[in-house]
Amino acid sequence: MTDLPGYPSRRSFLKASAAGAALSGLALPASAQQQPQPVSLDEYQREYLNADEWAFIMAATARLIPSEGDGPGALEARVPVFIDRQLASDYGTADDWYMEGPHDPNAEPARGWQTPLNPAEVYRQAIPAFDAWCQETHGAAFAELSPEQQDASLTSLQNGDVALAGELREFWGLLLSNTKEGYFADPQYGGNHGMQSWVYIGFPGARAAYREWPERHNVKYPLGPVSISGERA
């Protein structure tokens, strides 16, 4: 690798990382393996979700991004932690959004977010409603169903075949997008544990300095990701 003019510490960092060395000259170097392991998902102290909601989120995200096959699943990436924390944040309460009435939650979807509920409230009301549908259709709450039944239930939800009130229409879209956000966002938000999703797809995270790379055509970038906190994988 050629020099990065003006970035001596970054260069040594990159070299160290490429060689798999543990430490470099950066202020907060720590490899993912050296980070203290967080509590297991069973012991995690929830900030927003109640026990039933947590059981649903654990089960649903495990189907949306399953553990089988190559790459981490949502549970390995700790996506449920991310969703819980996001719903407890100003995102969950829609602080930045215009939430004044009157509301027309049955307006066609192209008109955008029109429910009077914020994202945290949508989860709170939609999870029991969807569980009731699962109970009626498949004989048990979502978390208790077989993986095949869970996939079938999620497909029904995606296709609009689960009769939810207009106020809850955004539930499927929220659940899927929040799951992917938790999979790919910087680990500081609780998901993407160990940057496993970035390693899997080959995204270098917050490296954000590729001065000599534009003209290296058709050559795969070789270095693993760094996080905003300096974690490496």
Binding site: R63, L64, Y98, Q158, W213
Partner: protein, 589 residues
């Protein structure tokens, strides 16, 4: 009773590109100036510092640099018969917030319009006759020409620090540049940036088909650079975090990198943040403004700021809103064609093709917002409107701009959106896709306009502005024409899989997916007060000491990103204020 501040020579409303330009140019005249900024203060250091800025969730997804709808938004309907509903969470367009405005979080695509785009009605009339203009299209000439603006485009490009290669230098067409661009009196301030793999593939394929590829005109520094105000830029390192972010290393052109450091050092300039202007105050005779009233967030009170000159330089939507609330003209009535405020609101018509190559490595995270090679072979000056059945055109570009995986994860059609199939898909295709984009013109129509909403209000009790907007057949036909031309080019590159995304006839405006923050018109330029809200110097017809700058001046949108024209018009306006207005304040002609 509002608090009253000491009178200033000039009050500037909004400290983005045009407010910063007005500030520094008029401060050089020795005028006493205050800028009022609705949002927070922000500078490269500490606000955009590495690594905190490299956060896709916070800035790319939760949009923490953008205008908060809870503070200001619009309502939207697709036609006059529909009930407008609030744009509650951001989607289709992302107005900025805070010092620097949208000039802080843009991609850096800096373009001049083509000569014919500024005289488009004449171009149509002279070549095909006015009978080809569809009913309901308000096609107009700008009251300024390319030749009028050329020195000011050059001035803006020097200040902003633009990289590129002139294709038309004083009329001489140069190999490797854009042969279809307007003439340039000087070459770009900086040479073009290096070419990434996807751009090179596109360039080769375009050349093979006889087209004329050239490097995109980029508000991204390719070298170290010092601009006319003494502001310094450093070369871009292709970090891949331009749009929706502040630049952490002084490479992306912005008010912060190009103007504000120099402006803030001038003793006759001050700025106040968290100061949201509520209305422009008019004198009793209604012919001039006396100043503006703003909301001081810290003091939680209204403040009257008297001034001799008022510069409206907030985002296009917010400028029009303020003008409607302040009576700086009459609201446009699409049935009668009377009134000018809110008239000729326009947008952008875009499409593109994605291509997947199993064995290619594109490293999509290596890029910048204005990266890539471009062709203008299907631009407005090149298209036969009479034969093709539409008025308009587009530029095409291919170049990596970000590899941020929450938002930028192109997958072949048919890949499941979740489950094992999705996970397999992201592993298989991330880094192996490239795209060509078509960035197209958008004409102005009677249907598409802005006025005040009858139902919804903001936190100050003011009516929200109402946007009436839908896609129109003319622009959709243009888009389909581009699809028909782009697919063969993409196919010639032999991708394993390719798929096109172009809106078709009948498409309805959807506020959810991001499309572009190129909202234009609403206080358009015109020769007279019956046809537009401002004259060729962006001076309002209603009050000669009020100047309204920005993309609100566009009579219809061009095929390009608006910043270059916005910057050129801003320098044209401040030049007129300096040379004609200050010595004798009056309506300019």
């Amino acid at each position: 009773m509002a608090r009253q501040e000491k009178k200033k020579d000039v009050v500037i409303v909004g400290l983005g590109w045009t407010g910063s330009i007005a500030g520094i140019e008029l401060a050089q005249e020795g005028l006493d100036i205050v800028a009022l900024e609705r949002g927070h203060d922000q500078s490269t250091v500490p606000n955009f510092e590495y690594p905190q800025q490299i956060d896709e969730l916070k800035y790319g997804v939760r949009l923490k640099m953008m205008q908060k709808p809870s503070q200001q938004t619009v309502t939207v309907r697709r036609n006059d018969g529909e009930r407008a509903l609030p744009y509650r969470s951001l989607g289709s367009f992302l107005p900025g917030n805070g010092v620097g405005g949208a000039g802080t979080h843009w991609n850096g695509l800096n373009w001049r319009p083509q000569e014919v785009e500024l005289k488009l009605r004449s171009h149509v009339r002279d070549n095909w006759g006015e009978q080809i203009i569809p009913e309901g299209m308000n096609l107009r000439d700008y009251p300024v020409s390319y030749d009028d603006l050329e020195p000011f485009f050059t001035q803006f490009e020097k200040v902003a620090g633009i990289s590129g290669y002139a294709g038309n230098l004083n009329g001489e067409i140069r190999e490797g540049g854009n042969p279809f661009e307007g003439w340039r009196s000087e070459d770009f301030p900086m040479p073009p940036l290096p070419t990434t793999y996807d751009s090179a593939k596109f360039q080769e394929a375009a050349k093979a088909m006889g087209y004329h590829p050239f490097p995109a005109s980029a508000g991204i520094a390719s070298t170290s650079y010092v601009n006319p105000y003494g502001m310094q830029m450093g070369p871009c390192n292709f970090c891949g975090f331009c749009e929706r972010y502040g630049c952490y290393q002084y490479s992306k052109s912005s008010p912060q990198t190009a103007i504000l450091g120099a402006l803030k050092s001038m003793p006759n300039f001050e700025y106040r943040t968290n100061s949201e202007v509520l209305r422009v105050e008019l004198a009793e005779d209604g012919k001039t403004a006396t100043g503006v009233t703003y909301w001081d967030e810290a003091a939680q009170e209204e403040v009257f700021q008297p001034a001799d000159i008022v510069i409206l330089s907030s985002y296009q939507l917010n400028n029009v809103h303020l003008m409607l609330l302040s009576g700086l003209g009459e609201a446009y009535n699409p049935l009668t064609g009377t009134g000018t405020l809110g008239k000729n609101y326009a947008y952008q018509m875009n499409g593109g093709v994605s291509m997947f190559f199993k064995d290619a490595e594109f490293n999509p995270f290596v890029g910048h917002g204005a990266n890539g090679m471009v062709i203008d072979d299907f631009s407005i000056s090149q298209n036969d409107f009479g034969a093709e059945g539409f008025i308009g055109g587009s530029y095409w570009r291919s170049g990596t701009f970000n590899g941020q995986p929450i938002r930028n994860m192109p997958l072949p059609k048919g890949t499941p959106s979740w489950g094992a199939g999705w996970k397999e898909g992201i592993g298989e295709w991330y880094g192996h896709a490239m795209s060509i984009g078509s960035h197209g013109s958008h004409m102005a129509y009677a249907n598409n306009h802005l006025d005040l909403d009858p139902t919804y209000t903001d936190r100050h009790g003011r009516p929200l502005m109402r946007m009436t907007f839908n896609w129109q057949d003319n622009d959709l036909k243009m888009n389909q024409f581009m699809k028909s031309k782009m697919e063969p080019l993409a196919a010639s590159m032999n991708p394993d899989i390719m798929q096109a995304g172009f809106k078709d006839i009948g498409a309805q405006y959807d506020v959810r997916p991001y499309q572009t923050t190129h909202n234009t018109g609403g206080h358009i330029m015109a020769e007279n007060a019956q046809e537009g809200a401002v004259n060729r110097y962006s001076q309002t017809f209603k009050a000669h000491n009020v100047f309204a700058m920005g993309a609100g001046n566009f009579v219809q949108n061009t095929q390009y990103n608006p910043t270059g024209l916005v910057g050129g018009l801003a320098y044209h306006t401040v030049h007129a204020i300096r040379t004609q207005y200050l010595s004798n304040p009056r309506p300019l002609v």
